[in-house]
Amino acid sequence: MPQPSRALSFLLVIIPLASTYGDEIDFARDVRPILSDNCYHCHGPDEETREADLRLDTRDGLFQQTGDLAIVAPQHPEASELIRRLVTDDADEKMPPPDSQRKLSPEQITLLRRWVESGASWEGHWSFQPIVAPTVPELVANNSPEYLARNEIDHFVVERLQRNNLTPSPMATRERLIRRVTLDLTGLPPTLDEIDAFLADDSREAYEKVVDRLLASRSYGERMAWDWLDAARYADTNGYQGDRERTMWPWRDWVVQAFNNNLPFDEFTVWQLAGDLLPEATFEQKLATGFSRNHMINGEGGRIAEENRIEYIFDQMETVGTVWMGLTLQCCRCHDHKFDPFTRREYYQFFAFFNQTPVNGGGGDPQTAPVIEAPTDEQRAQLEELATSIDALAKGVETTEGSLFPRSAGESVTASDQAAQLPEGVKKALNQKPASRTSEQLTEIEKHFEKTTPEYVAQLKQLRESNDRRNSVQGSIARVMIMQDMEKPRQTFMLDKGLYNQVGEEVSANVPAIFSSLPTDAPRNRLALARWLVDPSHPLTARVTVNRYWQMFFGTGFVKTAEDFGEQGERPTHPELLDWLAADFLNNGWDVKRLNKLIVMSATYQQSSKVSPELLEADPENRLLARGPRSRMPAWMIRDHSLAASGLLVDKTGGPSVNPYQPSGVWAEATFGKKQYDQGHGDDLYRRSLYTFWRRIVGPTMFFDSAKRQTCSVKDARTNTPLHALTTLNDITYVEAARAMAQRVLQDDGVGSLFRPNASPLETPPAEKDSRPLTARRIETAFRLATSRTPSPAETELLATRLKTLEQYYRRTPEDATKLLSIGESPRDEKFDAAEHAAHTGLCSLILNLDEALTK
C-alpha cells in the first residue's frame, strides 16, 4: 500500500512541470531533476559515497562507454544501461536500489526513455552558465483588448502565456493598483489624499508619478530593509542562553540609508562583505561590514571558544552562499556536495576568507571585538562640546598649577619644591597632564587640597565633572561589531565533520573551481571575494538578486527556491526573462531602484488579481503570471498598515530599537525572570515594525510567520492559522488602532471636512440626528483607510446595520464601552460619545480584519 501512494505523490509534483509548462523534452528542466533527485546521491559529485565509480552529473560520466556498455546511448534506449537498470526486475540490478527509499514513477521512466530516443541532449546546469541577455520576444498579437504591454517584462510573460494558451488579465482598478504598489514599495498604505490624487490624475504618467514619488520616499528604504534584515539575521540580542543585548542598530540604519540613497548593489555588496579592506575605508564602509557579524553568539557556560568561533564562520560563509549565490554550501562541511559540483575542500577554501578576523569565540563582552563606535549626531556634538570645554578647563588648571608649584619650564609638577611633601598618590596624579587625568586622580588631588586651596579645587572639580560627562556620553555610544582581518593570517584547515577539533589538511582561500577564478594580482581576501561576487561574469549574483526582488513583488520568484539555485533547486519558470532582467541589472550599474521601477511599471505587475476557476485550475500558483500578484501582507506590514490607517504611526526613522506592546511575561517565562520586557511608552509604541527590539530567543510575539532571525532566511513563509486571526483581533496594537481609527472617522461630524484640525464637538447625540448619510460616509472613510477602496452599497449597508447593533449594545452596556475605549495608551478624545465611539471601534476592528485589509 505505501508504495503506490508514494508514486502518486511524485506524479503530482513532477508531472505539472513537464506537461503544463512545455512539450519538448528539455534536459535541464525535465531530465536532470530526475537524475539529481534519484541518482546523484550515489552517482554524483561526492567522491566519498560514489558507487561503481560512476558519475551521472557530468557529461563524461553520463555518456561514457566501457566496452560494449554505454550508460546512455543517444537514440538507443535499448542499448542504454541507464534505462535498463531502471526497468529491470532483477532486484540486484534495479536502480535506484529498493532499499534507497528512492523510486521513479512510470511516467518519469517514460520521460527518460523519450529523452534518450530523441537524441539525449545535454547541457550544463543553467544557473552556472554565463548571463547573456536574450532577445526580447516580439508580441505577435495583442490577444486581450484590456491589456497593454508596458515594457520588456511583458513581452516575455505574454509570449510564455501564449505558448500555454493563456491570456493576461486586464489592469487592476486604480484603487487596487495604488494600494498594491504603495504597500510593495513603502510597506504603508496610500493615504486617502494620495488615492484621490491618483484617481483624479488622468494624465498618461499618473501611475509613473506615483511610482517615482514612492521610490523617493523615506519609507522606501524602511520597507526594503526588512527583507535584507531577514537575510542578514539581524537582531538586537546574541541568542542562546543569556541572550545578551547588542547594539547593531546603527548597521540597520545604514541599510535603510543605503536603500534610500540607492547605493548600487555591487557597492552595497562590497561594503558589507569587505568595506574594512577598501583603501582608506570610510566610517560607513566599516560600519557596513556589521552584516557578517549579525550571527548568533553563544555565551553558554561550558562552551569551547574555538568551537564557537568555527560555528560563527560557518554561519558567515553560508549566509554569503545563500544571499549572493543561492547555494546551499552547508552540506560540504562534512562531505562533498551530493548534488552540486562543490567539494569539501572548496568549502574550507571559502571558509578561509572569513577565518581571518581576531574574533576568538569566547564569551564575556556581548559586543565582541572588533567593534566600531557609532555615535549619533547628538552624541558627536556633545563630545565635541565637551572636548572643547575640557581643553579650556585643563588649561586653567595648568596655569594655576604653574603658580602653585613653581618649577622650570618643561619640568613636571613633582620637580617643584612645593610638591616634595605630597603623598605618593597625589604626586602620581599631578604628574599626569590635567587633560589626561582620570576622574579618580582628580578626586585624589581635590581631597588633598580641599581645605587649603579652594579656588584650585573648584577648578579641578569642574574639570572632573566634564570628564565624567564625557565618559557617560562615551559609554552610551552604540558599539557595532564589524569585520577586520588580522595582520598575520590564520591558517585554515579542513575539519572532519565540521568539528573544530578534528583538524585535517591545510587549505588556502579560494573560490569554487566551477566559477571563474580570482584575479592573480590581488590578495586573496574578503575584498577579492566580494569583488568576485559582483563581477559581471559571475553567473549567480545578479540572477539570485533579481529573483529575490521578483519574489518580493510577486510572492514567488521565477526560481521558487530563492535559497537554492543548485541542481536540486527549482528551474526558473521564465529563464529568458530572469536572464534578461539580470543582464539589465548588471548593465545598468546594479541600480536597485531602477530594477524595482521596471518591475512595478510592467503590465504584468499591474494586472488584476481576479482569478477565474479555469485559470485557477490551469495555474493555481500563478507561476505563469496571467494575473496580478495578491498575497497576505507579512505580519510586520500588517502592523505598520494598521498604525498608518489609524493615524497612530510615528514616522520617525532610525535609532535604538523600541519595545512596543507585548503581552506581559513572555520574556520572563522564557528566561525564568532573568529578562523582563520593559514596554516603552509614547512614540515607542507606534514606530514602524522595523524598529521593534528583536530578542532572539523569544522574538516579538506579534510578528507571526516571521523569519526567526537566527540564521539567514531569504524566503517568505506565509501560512494561515487561527493564531494569526487571534493576533489581529485581540492584540492591543490592533484594538487601539481600531479605536484611534474610529476617532479619526468620527471627526467627520457631517458639517465640516473630514480632518479639520479643530473639528467642533457634536452638538447633539448622533442617535437623534439624521445619521444616514453621515453613517455611510464614516463607514466609507473607515473602509477606505483599511482597504484603499470605496465600499460597494451592499458592503456599506451590511456595515451600517452592524454599526447600529453595536451602538445599541454599547448604549445598553456603557461599562463595556468604557472598557473598550480605555485599551491602549494613546489618549482618547472625550468629546465623542462613548457608545458611538465604542461601536465604531468594533466596526473598525472588523474592517481591519477583512481579508482585503490584510492583503496587498
Binding site: Q241, E563, E621, A670, F704, D705, P722, L726, N730
Partner: protein
Amino acid sequence: MNPHIEQNAAITRRQLFGRSAVGLGTAAIASLLNRDTNAASTYAGAGRVGGLPALPHFAPQAKRVIYLFMNGAPTHADLFDYKPALKAMHGQPVPESYLAGKRFSTMTGNATGKLMLAPVEPFRQYGESGAWVSDFMPHTAGVADDLCFIKSMHTEAVNHAPAITFFLTGSEMPGRPTMGAWLTYGLGSETDELPAFTVMTSISKDTSCGQIFYDFYWGSGFLPSRFQGVKFRGGGDPVLYLSSPDGMSREVRRGLLDDLAKLNEMQYEELGDPEIATRISQYEMAYKMQASVPELTDISQEPAHILDMYGPSVRERGTFAYNCLMARRLAERGVPFVQLMHAGWDQHNSITTELYNQCRDTDQPSAALVRDLKQRGMLEDTLVIWGGEFGRTPFIQGDINNRPRWGRDHHPYAFTIWMAGGGIKSGITYGESDDLAMNVAKDPVHVHDFQATLLYLLGIDHERLTFKHQGRRYRLTDVHGKVVRGVLA
C-alpha cells in the same frame, strides 16, 4: 510556504462551487476546508484534520504522545540506574579505562582523577518487575510496573541547548522541525478546536538553574510554521492573544465575525482567491479556540481525589503538576502531541540540595499522569515519555569534602529515560550501563533510535516521513536510527 500553494493543492474554486449548490455558507466553506482536504486520509477511521494521505504507514500502537521533557539532564545514577559498585567506589578516582576518547564539558575538562560519587539516596526494588528506583522517586516507584526503563540511552552533545535540540529535532543546530511538528505535519490531529501540538513549560521554585526555553524547542524548522508548537503559557492568556479585548463580549465578537465572514465571501465571489476561503475558516477556528481553551483550562469540575493524585501544586497554574493535569485534559480532547518541559535538573553543585525539590515537584505528577491515563483506559493508546537530554557524571563535580555542594557534570555516554503506554512493553528495563553507570554496556539506544521507535509507535516508518528542503530530503532521524524492537509490546 505560500498559502496559495498549500490551499490550491487541496481545493479549487470549482470544487467549492461544485459542492455547494446554494452559494457559499460560511459553515460550508469551513467544513470543506477542514474535512475535505483530508478526504484521502483514513486515520483509524476517525475524523482526522490535516496530515498526509499516505500516513500512517502501518497500524499505529499509539494515537498520541505526552513527552515530559526534563531539561537540564536528570542524574541517572541517583534516580534509576542502581550501581552498587559506584557506592563501593565512592571517593576513589575514576578508572582511566572508562574514559578513553571521552569528551566532557569545559567545566570538567579532563576527567582523569575525578572522584566517584555514590548515589546520595538508597535504592529499593518495586512491583512485580522488581525495578530499582531510588528514594528520590517514591511515586514513580509506585507505577514501576507500568513503565519501561531504558538505561542505555546515549547522545552526542555535551551542552544543553544542542543536546535538547538534538533530542527534539535530530540535529544539534536549530533549524529543523521538532518531533511534534513532524507528527502534526504527517498525521494531523483529531481535533480542530485545539492546537495539535501544544507545549507547556515549568521550573521548580527557587532553583539556581540558568536554563531557558528557546522557542525552537517546539519550532517547525523548514516545515510551514502552522506546524509549530503552540505554547500554553503559565500566566496571562493560556494562548497568546486568546482573549477578546475588555469590553468586547462574546455576543459582540460573534456579530463582528459573522459580518466579517459575509464581507470576505463577497470578496471571494469577486476575486476567486481560495486563500480568502481559508481565512474565513481560520477566523472561525479562532472563535472556537476562544471557547475551547478556557473550557480546557477550567479544572473546577475535576474531583478532589483526582486533583490530590497530582499533588498540592496542581491547583497552581504554571507548575509541572498543573501542566501534567492539562496534558491529560488535552489528550482527552484529541490533541496528539503534548510536550511538557520542566527545567532545573542541572545539578552541578546541588545533588544534596536542589535535587530534592526537583524530584518533589515532578515525581508525583508524572506518576499521577500515568495512573490517571490508565484508569481512563487511555494509557493503551497514549505514549508517555519521561527523560532529559543526557545524564550526569557518575563522578563528582566539586569537592568531595563539601557535601552541601556536591554536584555532577553533563554526561552523554549513558543515561536513563522511561516510556509507558501505547505499544510499549510495561514493567521492563531495556539496556544496561556498565557497573559505574559510565558507559553503555548492553543494547545501546541512540537518540535517533529513540526517535525512530517513537515514530514507529505512531505508525510511521521514520525513513519515509521526509520533507524536501534545500534540495535534500530531511527526516527526523537524519540518516540514522533503528527501531528498538526490544521495548515494543
